[in-house]
């Protein structure tokens, strides 16, 4: 049967918070028996836009990660619940049943993603219920994907096999697969959130003036092995992305026929901007000096 999935493209999310607002609009001041009790006015972010900055001026990347209940197929919250307070529906959606979950603070601790919020006033654990009350009435998209200006958030209603094909084709990932919870919320371009880069600006003196060096050949090496190669752009800039945080020593080799080859070593913590790398003139060939 067809089941619900959410796909979020990290490269397209720009922190507009329209999805979070729509969620707030839907659940604050409204209750949907069997689906969700009212959300408090302040304090809960059932769709939570997290933010990461990496690099330094002028090589900076900012990425945003909307985090919500993953509607896990193997959900720890379902196991931790008493009295059937958390239901896994046949269409994949996980519902914390408001009528049954009162007082079960354990659900907040059970969720490894921090997606369950504690409602102090109602003594109720709450999470985003995938707008199931709307989907059950014929909606085809969640409110978040309806309002997302860049279509970073898509609602997919497909068979599990079809979903797995989409996961392969679009190289989707889930948050913390190592938890083994099998989330139904997938992320595209998750590298933008989790990986780091090495960047730099190449310059040299031409005709007595310091210029950006375009089209210099730059090779990134690790343990003597070339990982990637790039050409500098018109500003002399290069950038190698998709690297693991704290992945140790790298070597950057820069070659341009007008200058002597240059090597820069970097130990990668977070993203590294190597600054302006000045190329030196080639040493005069042997025999030409007098």
């Amino acid at each position: 049967m067809k089941k619900w999935n959410l796909v979020i493209d990290v490269a397209q999310c720009f922190n507009c918070n329209a999805c979070a607002m729509a969620c707030h609009d839907e659940y604050f001041g409204n209750e949907f028996p069997g689906y969700a009790a009212e959300m408090p006015r302040l304090g809960h972010r059932w769709i939570d836009i997290r933010q990461r900055e990496t690099g330094r001026c002028p090589a900076v990347e900012v990425s945003y990660l909307p985090v919500t209940c993953n509607h896990c197929d193997d959900a720890p919250c379902v196991k931790a619940a008493r009295d059937g307070a958390v239901v896994k529906r046949a269409d994949g959606i996980v519902i914390i049943v408001p009528e049954k979950a009162k007082g079960q603070r354990r659900l907040v601790d059970a969720c490894p993603y921090g997606a369950v919020w504690w409602n102090e006033e109602k003594q109720l654990p709450q999470a985003w219920p995938f707008d199931a009350h709307l989907l059950d009435r014929g909606w085809t998209r969640t409110r978040g994907s309806q309002v997302c200006p860049t279509r970073a958030m898509r609602t997919l209603h497909v068979e599990d096999e079809e979903m797995q094909r989409i996961v392969r084709d679009e190289r989707l990932q889930v948050l913390h697969p190592e938890y083994g919870t099998r989330p139904r919320v997938y992320y595209k371009n998750l590298d933008r959130w989790s990986k780091v880069f090495v960047a730099g600006s190449v310059a040299g003196v031409l005709g007595g003036i310091t210029e950006c060096i375009e089209a210099a050949r730059v090779v990134l090496e690790k343990d003597g092995r070339a990982l990637a190669e790039a050409r500098t752009d018109p500003y002399g800039d290069f950038k190698f992305g998709g690297l693991e945080e704290r992945s140790g020593a790298y070597r950057v080799r820069i070659a341009d026929e007008r200058f002597a080859a240059k090597t820069v070593d970097v130990a990668l913590g977070g993203s590294a901007y190597l600054g302006t790398i000045m190329l030196e003139p080639r040493p005069a060939p042997a025999g030409t000096s007098t």
């Binding site: 922190n15 507009c16 900055e53 860049t150 018109p234």
Partner: protein, 624 residues
């Protein structure tokens, strides 16, 4: 009228088809697109990446647009962008990277501009090396940018709208930035395919021949003087006209001085003509009473104006005997009132409007939309508490003044909505009852062949103006109707004739005095550096109204040391700006905003508000 902003017709299509590069200069449309069009432009800007159009951002902050679209980021120190622009012009002039035909045929005053940039006039060539200590941008990078820009068809997105609204022009020295950028685009031949103003925020191919009045077209006000009504709406919806008989007017920025000091003057913005910018106002106007009462209606001044402790002092002044505040919310400024008139929200009254319809102020704001949408705003509930609709409040006041019937013309709020509906082109497409029921109408897109021509193409090609806007007004053309720009020469003016007439003395012009604050730190030392000749170097047809107004209004205040310092504080001293070079995001606002309260009483002011006005009591007018 569009004075200060450029026409934008057809630029979305032209940019996507022709341009190879877009420069976002002080432009963050994903965060501050400007006016009433939500995220409509966001979807279009995604195509820049799809098409591989090169993107450059120039902004002290790594803003949201940069974070989303990527591209090359330049982070000049705040307020120094003009130096960077001059250095770009320097590279273009010395390397021949500009549109010489356009400059020769369509502009005047290029020689003094060129001589100024090359330093022939003041001995200071505005080289990339010259700008480096000012902006913090390496000379090599500016050279590389200038070469890219000069050799690629490039759109210049200036400010949040992309056509010169907002952004760096709203700073102490913004006028110089605005003028320098206009000169840059002229050097590249503005109106050439792929070369124009914009960053896809304005200029969609919607049907602009469908009429629906804009937000400043006067509505039901009958105001033929202060709105766009005489140009567009009155003919379709005749109504009892109203006039304000007082010729005494004080621009909002100057209200505190008028109240506290009893006199003030300056140069308010004039949206109709270029020369109108030089029209001085002074208060008190001859024979008029001083201000004794203040009726506050609309957005809070304390939230939007500069040096807002001035407003706090004015509200508390004994010179001001009576304050009324008509607001939806009990915001900070409302607390300064003697009488509060609570207005209801739009959910508690009837109205009709168009998404992005800024007509009467900025024509054809609907070109920010992917589809024009006219909305029926239903009254969902009765007004809460003691609140009333603004219309009802004014009606009740009119009754007490014996003017009720003239004000309402015997109609209800819903009648007025229907009357506006009838005045628009809606009845040609949809019946009133259907519109009421449906709640909105999407204006059909024009056929491809019927789309509007591209902005400024007519000027680039030396034809008559062919875009659908009614300005300049017919009498403002220098030669033939529809020929040339609004400037006195009808051409693009690198050296601005009207500004030169206004004040030919280099040191005297308001623009010139602003220049001393141009680079914050120099102003601190009281030295005048850079750009002296820029006082009359400009492209007036493309000047930015807010920049000009602010520049003029701040001109005289500039002489006062405290004013300068306070302004520097607002801008943030470059050397103190810990946030510089770091990302700007909604979660953490840029640093200088956070610093403001520490210095002044901005945050504390509301606490002091209530007791401050002597015996004044805050009460809600009952029984209106």
């Amino acid at each position: 009228m569009r004075l200060g902003q450029t026409e934008t017709y057809g630029t979305v299509e032209d940019l996507l088809k022709e341009a190879e590069m877009v420069v976002f200069w002080s432009a963050d449309p994903e965060c501050t697109s400007g006016s009433y069009s939500a995220f409509e432009g966001t979807a279009r800007r995604q195509w820049l990446r799809d098409l591989g159009i090169e993107i450059v951002h120039i902004d002290p902050y790594y803003n949201h647009t940069a974070a989303l679209l990527g591209g090359k980021w330049f982070a000049p120190k705040p307020g120094t962008d003009t130096a960077m622009a001059l250095a770009i012009a320097y590279v273009w002039i010395t390397e021949g990277l500009y549109d010489k035909r356009f400059v020769a045929e369509r502009s005047v005053g290029f020689e003094p501009w060129r001589d100024y940039v090359l330093g022939r006039e003041d001995g200071v060539p505005k080289t990339p090396e010259w700008q480096e200590p000012e902006t913090g941008i390496p000379a090599k990078d500016v050279r590389a940018l200038a070469r890219q820009w000069g050799s690629k068809k490039t759109y210049l997105g200036a400010g949040g709208w992309g056509n010169g609204h907002g952004g760096a022009c709203r700073s102490a020295t913004g006028i110089q930035w605005a003028r320098a950028l206009a000169c840059l685009l002229a050097m590249q031949g503005m109106g050439r395919p792929g070369v124009n103003y914009g960053h896809l925020q304005w200029g969609t191919p919607v049907d602009l021949h469908f009429y629906f009045p804009g937000y400043a077209d006067g509505g039901m006000s009958g105001d033929l003087e202060g709105t766009g009504m005489p140009i567009s709406l009155y003919q379709r919806m005749p109504q009892l006209p109203t006039f304000n008989p007082s010729t005494q007017k004080v621009p909002r920025l100057r209200i505190p001085e008028a109240i506290l000091e009893g006199r003030t003057e300056g140069y308010p913005w004039n949206g109709k003509t270029i020369e109108g910018q030089f029209q001085k106002f002074s208060y008190p106007a001859p024979g008029h009473s001083p201000i004794r009462m203040f009726y506050k209606y609309g957005g809070a001044s304390i939230g939007t104006m500069s040096e807002t402790n001035r407003y706090v002092r004015a509200y508390r002044s004994e010179n001001l005997e009576f304050v009324v505040n008509q607001s939806i919310w009990f915001e900070g400024e409302a607390k300064f009132a003697d009488v509060l008139l609570p207005a209801c929200t739009q959910f508690e009254r009837w109205d009709i409007s168009e998404f992005g319809g800024t007509g009467g102020y900025a024509l054809h704001g609907q070109t920010q939309m992917n589809h024009r949408i006219v909305l029926m705003q239903h009254k969902c509930i009765e007004p809460l508490g003691e609140s009333k609709s603004d219309w009802q409040i004014f009606l009740e006041l009119s009754h007490r003044l014996g003017l009720g019937a003239y004000y309402s013309e015997g109609m209800t709020e819903l009648d007025w909505v229907k009357r506006l509906f009838d005045a628009s082109d809606l009845p040609k497409h949809i019946a009133w009852k259907d519109f009421l029921k449906k709640g909105y109408f999407v204006v059909p897109a024009p056929a491809e062949h019927a789309r509007d021509p591209v902005a400024l193409r007519w000027f680039y090609e030396g034809r008559k103006k062919d875009v659908p806007e009614p300005h300049p007004l017919p009498g403002d053309y220098g030669r033939q109707f529809l020929e040339g720009l609004q400037t006195q020469s009808g051409k693009f003016e690198f050296e601005c004739s009207s500004l030169k007439r206004f004040d030919p003395r280099r040191s005297g012009a308001p623009a010139d005095r602003e220049v001393s604050a141009f680079l914050g730190r120099h102003a601190d030392q009281g030295t005048l550096r850079t750009l002296p000749a820029a006082a009359h170097l400009a492209a007036l047809a493309l000047q930015l109204p807010h920049a000009l107004r602010r520049q003029a209004e701040r001109g005289e205040r500039h002489c006062r040391a405290p004013g300068v310092r306070e302004r520097l504080l607002l801008l943030g001293r470059p050397d103190q700006r810990a946030g510089r070079g770091r990302a700007r995001h909604r979660g953490a606002r840029p640093r200088q905003t956070l610093q403001r309260p520490r210095r002044g009483g901005l945050r504390r002011a509301p606490d002091r508000a209530a007791p401050a006005r002597g015996g004044a009591r805050l009460r809600v007018l009952r029984g209106l």
